[in-house]
């Protein structure tokens, strides 16, 4: 499903090239649950951004569902992001002016789905994530855990095949972190490919495939049989 071939990413920092990714080759099959761990600056977020088409690789080829997406135009990449990829961020990134339901509706609005259908699907997800009574609350009226659940609902409302989470529990207390992980794992169980960047070893160990990155390269790739 996700096929990275010798992906490199070079940033220019103060005129000096910095290699954030060095020739990363990685294949992730459909429905896998992968965790990406490693020290800060090891390139795990960069890798996640490239997989999510938020960032472009400096070299190498990225195939998504067998199709080369490296050379797509910005507009085409936006479309792929909209339809196939969901993002969950450490800082939630909800639009502060919009209610919980409206935040969830955002990707659907961008896709041109009608208001009635948007609302119905948003409410359905809110209910499923235990936020049925929070639809018209704005983000600043929600707790951190609730915000992250809204963000997950937004990431999954277009029913993408891939869910990318960058430190999804990094900004949450233990209890709400657990709720969020539970939701992510239930999504994985329903067939979504889950890629998780985390610093938390406990969370990383829950994944069925664990990648460790060091200095822009994959240092360790451990698969574990399902318990």
């Amino acid at each position: 499903m996700i096929g990275l071939e010798q992906i490199g990413r070079v940033f220019q920092v103060g005129g000096q090239p910095v290699h954030a990714l060095r020739e990363v080759t990685l294949a992730v099959g459909s429905g896998e649950y992968v965790s990406l761990m490693g020290p800060s600056g090891s390139g795990k977020s960069t890798l996640l951004n490239i997989v999510g088409l938020l960032d472009r690789a400096s070299s190498g080829i990225y195939r998504l569902d067998g199709k080369d997406v490296t050379a797509l135009s910005d507009e085409e990449q936006a479309r792929v992001r909209r339809e196939k990829i969901g993002f969950v961020f450490q800082f939630f990134h909800l639009v502060p002016r919009l209610s919980a339901a409206e935040n969830i509706e955002l990707p659907m609005a961008l896709a041109g789905i009608s208001a009635g259908e948007r609302r119905a699907r948003a409410l359905e997800l809110l209910k499923a994530y235990g936020l049925g009574d929070r639809a018209d609350h704005r983000p600043d009226q929600l707790s951190g855990g609730q915000r992250q659940r809204v963000a997950i609902a937004r990431a999954t409302v277009m029913r993408p095949g891939i869910l990318l989470a960058d430190e999804p529990t990094g900004n949450l207390d233990r209890a709400s972190g657990k709720d969020v992980v539970q939701i992510l794992e239930s999504l994985h169980e329903s067939g979504v490919t889950l890629l998780l960047v985390t610093h938390d070893p406990e969370l990383g160990r829950r994944a069925h495939r664990r990648l460790r990155m060091v200095d822009g390269a994959i240092a360790e790739d451990r698969k574990e049989d399902e318990p």
Binding site: N49, G52, L54, D55, D74, E75, A78, R79, R81, R82, E83, F87, F89, H93, V95, P96, R97, L98, E102, L106, P107, A109, L110, A111, G112, S114, A115, R154, A155, M158
Partner: protein
Amino acid sequence: MRPLDVLRFAWVSLRGYPGRTLLMTTAMAIGVAAVVIFTALGEGARRYVVDQFASLGTNLLIVFPGRSETAGAGPGMFLGQTPRDLTLDDALALTRSRAVLRVAPLAVGSALISFGGRSREAPVIGTTAEWQVIRNMQMAQGSFLPGGDPHAPSPVCVIGATVRDELFGAAPALGQFVRIGDRRFRVIGVLATQGQHMGFNTDEMVIVPVASAQALYNINTLLRILAEARSREELDAAKRDMTRIIQDRHQGELDVTVVTQDAVLATFDRVLTALTLAVGGIAAVSLGVAGILIMNVMLIAVSQRTREIGLLKAVGAAPGQIRLLFFAEAVLLSSIGAAAGVVLGLAGNAMIVRVYPILPATAPAWAVVAAVATAVTTGIVFSIMPARRAARLDPVSALSGR
């Protein structure tokens, strides 16, 4: 993305920053209101002048004695003036033209008019019955000067409303004898109040038959001749005929000036329309300033909302859609401002009319439309750059707020 959703998103964004939205719409509104009010004033001045001319009567031609010439160009031309005056027969001769409907001679002087113990200095107009029709004068009481031979003096007069009030107070004026200069005249009519007409207040005038006026002042000349053409189309023919008739009567010498009211009116109209345009244009500069403000504010909005733009990109907004969202915001902003400006401008206009009822100040429709169009266009033009900047943001750095 559906157009309605774009608008809704833009609207929510505007509502999210009420302070800046209010300031921006105010700037835009002031610009639009300035255009509306200034053009209303210009248009008011133009219409005031046009109305003044129109009240003098339509299809009007005026004959002045004399003709501006350069003196000293040849023998016999020492003063740049012609020795011949206009006479009553000149005026009557003008009716020979088929294009001329009616003619009113005008001899003007000033005299003391008195009744009982009161007296008052008043302009005295000597003319004929035709004058009432040409000048479109309404009577309050009695009748205007009778027709008949203009050469025959007759001791009757028509007085203006002010003269009546001053001399007679509440007492009846009709049929009373007044003294004008050293002669006695019977009041046969009172003019209805008409107010100021190009500096001539008819309320203060006294009107007597032209022959009586000439006798009163011991003259046989006229100040000018008013003539009415049969129709607007025949104005030029009337002017040609009148010039030729007078020239024939003055031994072939062209020593009068014939002007059509239209020509004078058209000149004023042109001058004042140009004035309105100039003033409106100056006001429109403020719209340009408002446009630059909009650009500034939109640029700030882009940097304020960097994370949001990154998020929009992450959830699948294409660069075109981001451009559209910011674009819609600017257009909405300037449209609301323009609408507020029109309301403000029309309110100001209404206030001007209330304070100066004499000025028919109404903003012309084209000015309102042009002001709104300019406002929205500047909004669009000046939002292009911010919108493009937003669309070009790199999503990864945008998400981290960089």
